[in-house]
Symmetry: C6
Subunit: 78 residues, 6 copies
């Protein structure tokens, strides 16, 4: 958990939608890390998961939820 | 991940709802690719997944979430 | 995918909530078709899925998400 | 599907939150019926499903999504 | 279902976020009861479910959705 | 449940997005505790769950939903 004590999220603002999408990916991963902070365990889990389409869809769903938040925070980059 | 470094999402604006739905599909796939960037692996997974109705419903759910974002960004094409 | 090239979604506006709900159902199905465009495969999958309550609930969830979008687009038919 | 041709959703307005919650339950069931319109099949599936806590939670999730829509439509009964 | 005929949800307003969270928990349980109104069945299901972390996460997800609704109804207790 | 009687959620306001994310994690865990208040049981379940990528993704999804609420409550820290 110690790496979450570091400053990693100072703003939800990004310069464009694509950077917003990348921030959404980051938030999704930090959500995973909050439950499993051991990076070595995550690295062992990842390869198997990344070959499981249901898992990939679930990961994409979390990103979609976080992208909703980031998009609203950026007023949809209007 | 290198293909995400390319510029692929410059705006959430589309000319009509149908193009917005297509963009929602694209976002959903980019969410999948962020976890599994190897296109060959994705191509191997797709056929089996596409014959699994639960997987298809899950994919449709991610699209629905992204379509919410795109629709709001376009003020629902009012 | 060719049938998605056809114009099928020109507006999110409907005359009343019930037509909005029907449009939400349509969006949910188009989401499924974007991953599995082969109608024959979908027809084979449907009967089994429609006898699986977990699958039916999942389908209802996607409709609920799309109905949120359609309802907002119609200002909740106020 | 014939019963969906009937008029069953003319408004999202309800007189209070509880009636709104009941409407959310109705929308969730209509979402299920749109995939499986055969009431006899649904009646056979229900008892088993209703003894499965995961299924009950999933059903509650769909209701929660629809209740979000109904609540917004009623300006949260403020 | 008879217990749902009782008045149990007259307002989405609460005096603070914590009471709002408790109301979100209540809504989530009422969603479950709408599908399985038999309290004895629910009591039998609960202990096993409460030892299943996936089920606990799913329950937390429904609460999160209902808490979104309650929070908006209370203008986020600003 | 007794520990929920304690005051643990007096405000949704946080000084920055990162603290908001941490509050979202807390809400997600309180959602779990509302179904399983026995901390010893939760401690026994956690290690196994934290080695299951599907479970980690599901946990991240609940956090994403709660982060949507917290972000809106803080006007996205604009």
């Amino acid at each position: 958990m110690s790496d979450q004590k570091q400053l990693w999220l100072t703003s939800l603002k990004t310069s464009n939608p694509q950077e917003g999408f990348e921030l959404a990916i980051k938030l999704s991963r930090m959500g995973v890390k909050s439950t499993q902070p051991d990076v070595d365990v995550l690295k062992r889990l990842r390869p198997k998961y990344a070959k499981n389409e249901a898992g990939l869809t679930a990961a994409s769903q979390v990103i979609a939820l976080n992208f909703q938040t980031i998009s609203a925070a950026n007023d949809y980059w209007k």
